[in-house]
Amino acid sequence: MKAIIDSSTVRAIKFNSDGATKHYYNALKEGRFQSTQCQQCNHIPFPPRMFCPQCGSTDIQWIDLPKQGTLYAFTQQSRALRFNAPDVIGLVSLPDIGMILTKIDAPIEQLSIGQTVEWNTFKVDDRLTVHQFHPIT
């Protein structure tokens, strides 16, 4: 079943891509968590965009996102499809960027709002790597 879900997810991501999706996932595969930054107004959207949603400029560059953020909210799915159950997920607030939906690599009992968390990558399979965050103590 995992192979079926992974294959479908990879194809669904490709099918629902925008211009930034491919670069974004390729960077994660290489261990880099990136978004785009507008070279005109410095705005950093997340998810990445090949244009600036604030000023409309197409003058953008890929940048590395900060290593640490703040845990903004979290929950868990006990009937998880993608990862092992229970699947802890959360929203992490990155400075100046906003909230990012992510996998949390820690039991829910160890989490609290406002904790400092740090990202690393999680390899789903050869074709797909995602970001995940864990609390640092």
């Binding site: 479908s8 669904a12 099918f15 909210a73 799915q77 006990s78 829910i108 995602v130």
Partner: protein
């Protein structure tokens, strides 16, 4: 609606059930016919049909509205299919209103219908094909970025919004529980409700374990089967009938530039709801206190509370107490979700706004039987899409002639 008076003249809904045995096409057709009969008009006077097909359950709903038109055997001047998540059926209603306001149609019917599939995978469908279809569906909604995180239904997003609401506004799990309990009490007056005659007490809620923390199962709505339809008419048609029209007083609509999670800002605040409410109240020229009855699209208990605050019925963080103290039920300040709401009426998503419209229509007509809100004159109905990223609110008034 400054220049054109628009009336709701008829409405119908099916009982809300988990599954249905008949083809959904028949349910849709019958609900339309029931609404036309309720309006007391010749079926051939209908010249507009706008619908939301059961697109959450079915993928092949192309030209569903044309097939319905053919099936009904009615010549139409306008047909449309509207889709934007939870707001879909509100937009079908909006389409009917606009066609009548523009003079394209005299009488337009709007329908919302949805169905929970009994067999997943569908008969003859492989597990691979079913998983592929499901995953494509969710990634399409949550984007190629959030879509990788294995969310099926959007419950985790709403759970995190509830957590933030409690964290920021001081709401408690007891507050959430009271929203669920009041809605269940309302459903117990409504024989069409999915959870009719099923008691829910504070003890039940306190003893329940978390489903997706901090939400318990009874904090969540169930995706089920149902259909609703309303008939919209211009002033000439509405005034020619021997029934009491329900007039549109105001409409507001707004969309925040986010699709599911307001990730730039705050996931427990919903500026689109507030903006659409402000527009609707301004156009209607009435106050929050003037509203007698409201149907809101609160798909989770915490969402129900937050919505009541964004619409402006209660201050931030204070809805839970209002629900507990009975301010949102019979004998209180305003009756919120006399139908039982999404939690206890049941939530066939693509039909829900039309079920709300049905309830408001029946309440304002004085035809809501055992759940009638006494002297209901002004009603509000609300729908949202995404996680309240977008909102549509309308205000309706019983003819006082």
């Amino acid at each position: 609606m400054k220049n054109h008076k628009i009336a709701m003249i008829g409405a119908a809904m099916s009982p809300i059930t988990k599954y249905i045995e008949e083809p959904i096409f028949d349910l849709a057709r019958r609900t339309i016919e029931d609404a036309i009969v309720d309006a007391g008009i010749d079926r051939h006077s209908v010249d507009g049909l706008s619908i939301t097909p059961p697109s959450l359950a079915y993928h092949n709903t192309a030209m569903f509205v044309s097939r319905l038109g053919e099936h009904l055997g009615i010549s139409l001047k306008s047909l449309a299919c509207t889709e934007n998540g939870g707001c879909s059926a509100a937009l079908a209603l909006r389409w009917a209103i606009m066609e009548v306001a523009l003079g394209q149609c005299d009488v337009a019917v709007a329908l919302g219908v949805d169905q929970r599939l009994k067999e997943m995978p569908a008969p003859g469908e492989t597990i691979e094909a079913f998983m592929d279809r499901s995953i494509h569906g969710t990634v399409a909604v949550y984007s190629s970025y959030d879509g990788a995180y294995g969310l099926g239904p959007p419950i985790p997003y709403y759970a995190m919004a509830a957590q933030r609401y409690m964290h920021e506004a001081g709401a408690t799990k007891e507050d959430l529980a009271w929203a669920a309990i009041r809605l269940r009490e309302h459903a117990n007056k409504n024989p069409a409700a999915m959870f009719h005659n099923k008691a829910l007490t504070i003890e039940d809620m306190n003893e329940a374990t978390d489903f997706i923390p901090p939400l318990r199962l009874s904090d969540c709505s169930q995706f089920v089967t149902g259909a609703g339809a309303v008939v919209i008419a211009n002033e000439r048609v509405a005034s020619s009938l021997n029934t009491t029209p329900v007039w549109l007083r105001g409409w507001g609509q707004s969309h925040h530039p986010s699709a599911f999670c307001n990730s730039s800002d705050n996931i427990s605040r919903y500026p689109a709801v507030e903006a659409s409410a402000n527009q609707a109240f301004e156009q209607a020229n009435v106050t929050r206190q003037d509203i007698d009855v409201a149907e809101v699209y609160g798909v989770f208990s915490a969402t129900e509370l937050m919505l009541c605050e964004e619409i402006g019925f209660f201050p931030r963080g204070k809805s839970g107490v209002a629900f507990k103290e009975g301010k949102t039920t019979y004998g209180g300040d305003i009756v919120i979700d006399p139908s039982g709401g999404r939690l206890s009426l049941g939530h066939p998503a693509c039909a829900t706004p039309m079920l709300e419209a049905y309830e408001i229509f029946k309440q304002l007509r004085g035809e809501a039987e055992t759940r009638q809100v006494p002297n209901a004159k002004l009603g509000l109905l609300h729908a949202e899409h995404g996680m309240l990223n977008g909102s549509a609110i309308s205000i309706w008034e019983r003819d006082n002639a």
